[in-house]
Symmetry: D2
Subunit: 346 residues, 4 copies
């Protein structure tokens, strides 16, 4: 491996792959060395945009390519495990698309393999690297929000029906990755409901409730069959509350100085115990930096410095575990599923 420049090998040049390819070329200390895709058309498109890179029909060839130091995987979910495992075994660093794997079991094996070989294993939880989510995390860490009461997300639109995964694996995965970052721990139980409205297709609408040990409750509303597009999350804290509207061009985050004040004196009349606080609203200016570039730089830095990424294998495992639990609950009309792969807040 070259001391100065990391050779990136990208597997999968379909919908998301071209963005990862572009980000690789725009990241200092990286170069796009190779692309693999079964499709000849996809390889041709890659060649046109990135003349000079190596092209492989099979990902095994790419992994064997000595110019490749790190493998970026942007293929369908069910193929993540085999490719990532082979890459790690070949001594490559790995950045894998979300969801990390089909199952928590697969995720655990990848984590173990990466640890054994001291390779960086990172999951592409892109939202974690957006200025909006970073700002929310700051507001939480600095105590601006106080105790977090709830996280309530609506992520709906007229979306592409997937054939192999349901709307939870496709849309809720974003919120689960964000929650994993913001909460720093896993929930203790999950309840999920939903329905399929096209025969023979997976669930196209779903609602998840996550119970956290701290008392925080998270709720996700995802839907492929909505007439309008909504990307809005409310975060209610004891001190302040946030509305994050990701479709707002210039005021994505609004911080409200609103909430309830609870009087401590139980002797007082019931009406006095809870009073309302309604104050100013503040919308911080956010950086317009593209999340994918921030993420790719972070990947490169972790490789150079042998550091643990923000969205490491454990995060990927957490998210996959939540998806598994939610799917189980969904099949049983909301029956709560206790969370087994519990990670506690550090």
């Amino acid at each position: 491996m070259s001391a100065s420049v990391i050779g990136i090998g990208l597997v999968g040049y379909g919908y998301w792959g071209p963005n990862l390819a572009r980000a690789s070329t725009e990241t200092e200390g990286c170069r796009l060395a190779a692309v693999a895709d079964f499709s000849e058309q996809a390889r041709a498109r890659a060649a046109k945009r990135h003349p000079g890179i190596a092209l492989h029909a099979h990902w095994r060839e790419l992994i064997a390519d000595a110019a490749v130091d790190a493998v970026v995987i942007a293929t369908p979910v069910h193929t993540h495990f085999d490719i990532a495992l082979a890459a790690l075994k070949a001594g490559k660093h790995v950045l894998v698309e979300k969801p990390m794997t089909r199952s928590a079991q697969e995720a655990a094996i990848l984590i173990e393999e990466a640890a054994r070989r001291s390779r960086v294993l990172m999951v592409d939880h892109t939202f974690v690297y957006t200025p909006a989510v970073q700002k929310i995390r700051d507001l939480m860490v600095e105590g601006v929000l106080g105790d977090v009461f709830y996280y309530d997300s609506t992520r709906i639109n007229l979306g592409l029906f997937q054939t192999d995964v349901n709307v939870i694996w496709d849309l809720a995965v974003h919120d689960l990755a964000i929650l994993d970052f913001l909460m720093g721990c896993t929930p203790s139980a999950i309840s999920a409901t939903g329905a399929r409205h096209v025969a023979g297709r997976p669930e196209n609408t779903a609602h998840l409730t996550l119970y956290y040990p701290s008392g925080t409750i998270a709720h996700l509303n995802v839907n492929w069959l909505a007439p309008v597009k909504i990307r809005r999350t409310l975060i209610g804290g004891s001190r302040r509350m946030v509305v994050w509207d990701d479709l707002e061009p210039s005021e994505k985050i609004k911080v409200y100085d609103r909430g309830v004040t609870v009087a401590g004196n139980a002797e007082q009349l019931r009406d006095i115990l809870v009073s309302y606080r309604s104050g100013d609203m503040w919308s911080p200016q956010l950086s317009s930096r593209e999340a994918l570039l921030t993420e790719m730089e972070h990947f490169a830095a972790c490789i150079r410095e042998n550091a643990v990424p923000l969205t490491d294998g454990r995060s990927g495992l957490d998210v996959v575990s939540m998806l598994e639990s939610a799917s189980l609950s969904l099949a049983e009309r909301g029956r709560p599923v206790e969370f087994e792969n519990l990670r506690r807040a550090s």
Copy 2:
């Protein structure tokens, strides 16, 4: 009872009572005959706005008042049953605030009593009488929406903490009454999740999923602790979809000619089976008539014509049953509760 004018006796002159009093005076064929309230201040306010009416300190006196033909009940939920039962037994017609009673059992007794005495028993499910809900019902009945896939409501704001009922009994009750009217049947199961964030207070945030026999799924998101006010419902059908934003001053209802088209030929490739349809949007002009006046006229007409109200005792019972089931599920973190008081679509 006077052949021409119905004497209305109002019990409870607190938050909502004055609106019912005003509506009584503005409804042809009705007159406000009496008001009862334990509070002297409340009676004084009633006297100032409605000089000439009889004032009673206790509702039993009002029921005994010969000038009262119909009793309108706007008191706390736990008192509805006693007052309504006494009024029916005294041969009065009854319009009772929602939720109808504390329990389905109480509701059933009132229904029986009203039937035995051939009195009108109506529940104040006000939203059913709004031009918006009437329009949605028309769109469903006329087949404009096609099969109804889902009903998804968000009803949140920084609201008054109740001391005796949780956010489901306070806010979700509106959607349950609307659903009872729109669907014409009860759900087969309910799952509910939620949390309390103020110690010693009832749940302030909750999410309900209702499974209907037809495959329709309804989801309600209610919250007393939100920094912004939202009153928005999406209704997804196989032919068209509706967005109902009740805070929009002039375009409350938008009908989208959008959805999915499913090809019937299973031989075709999977990607062709589901395609998207994206067409015009249309916002029908709605009447600006106040729902409460429409409702009061309907009450008067039912009394005169001995007819069954749109929101009769059975509707009230359905809604209370749903609230009971939801509360049960809420206490068990979403475990689905099979619905026992099943009413089938007629």
Copy 3:
């Protein structure tokens, strides 16, 4: 005149009069003593809502009524002068609806008469007493906005066609009153354009530009024939900018930390001279107090303390002068009219 309670006599119980009547009854130190209206129906409505007050068919009787200390005038514009003059001559204080009079000449006579008799003469420029306008004034006075570059207002809706006054006298009058308060001086010139689209009716759409000596430019867009209602004003300053949307229920005022920074060094390249500043947005919580009550209290306080109202006769005269100049310019397709009744910033 009673030392403690001011007797209010209201002339005109049509569209706006009932609000002034209600405000009179709700203001400490005032009582509604009498109402005059030519219409018997209007008097009957007043009697029903305010039992016990004196009713007069002609305003001359009301002015002669000894129980009346102050006359509030809510009649058509062309009658303001006669009524106000008679009231002042009878020694009454006067609060007159906007626009104050038909002409600046009439306004000047009223100012002189009030001064001679030491009576309070106040104009009902209601917007000046709103929390939003008060907040904007504070932001200007405290230097938060810096130099005010422009005031740009859009005030349009599907409105009632007036028969005797055009859209400038009906809608732009609000902005002219606000500007008179915010700027503390009159413009040096006015240009106005517009059109009438219903034959035989006054202009229903108009655009005014006001040039201020300080370099501030104000622009008003008023329209009775718009399909949507807009009430939005932008105020651009050298340090910060404001968007005031009066239809926003809870975030009427937004303050943007945005603008241009001009480098002082003329040696630098032209592109460096002007750079952009884009920062946070902040929406201050505003009081929800009704402007009319604040205004009526102010009227009472001015009477008791013999003080000059915020919206005194001079403000009324300024606004009428601007309306006259604008009408003149409008008739000549925008030809700028130099402003004669110039008042300088104090």
Copy 4:
């Protein structure tokens, strides 16, 4: 010139040029043959994105290039005339960026030259080719709107200060081009007001009123110094009204069935003469096709078929004439300028 493929030569590879280059490559029947730019960096960028094209340091070389059949000009306004005239004299077709020229006189010379040589002369009034403007034109032509009473546009944002042209030449030019297309004639008079707030810079805020012979009045509000971005146009007709919000992602055009109805009987009372009509709103689905591609195809088709473009030299001349008149009026604080280059509705 090749019978099948038109060789495009692009002069100016700065801000807008790259879009024209890309559109050239994506348009059937066209190929990007050459790019000219004084800047070596710009040429390098062009070479990287479009390998294989000819690069010229001076536009005169490009015009002399035999592979170039049509010259596309995307340079500063003051250079348009020289380049376009040279290109036409060399027998090339020309597509020139807006505004077409510095003066109406220059525009007239280009029109004459193109006519003499039977070359296509087209101006890049891009908005004319958007689905939104095409839909509005259809609504007008089909009589859906009735008589057009007004066109009222707000086009503001925190924009780049230009050094050589004011905000009218930069922003209002869009609306003038749209109006030229929609109205099919020129106004009879223009009044413009505005101000400069940065010393030594051109006007950064301006308001234009255009008087049309038909009675239609158009009003444009343009501003480089606004804290928020607005792109909204209202079009009021006697039968229906349109709101066009170009920033709306999916409902750019809304058609309101609202307006006034004027009774013909002058004997009737004044209040009956004008009554209100408030009906449904309808938002037609628009094509998502990129305007620039539609425009480039149209340019190619006009060349092949020797046809007159929608946005021909005459349109360019009209727009430049309006800009000249507006600038004249602006300098005199709104004094109306009679329009000399009058074109009547055909």
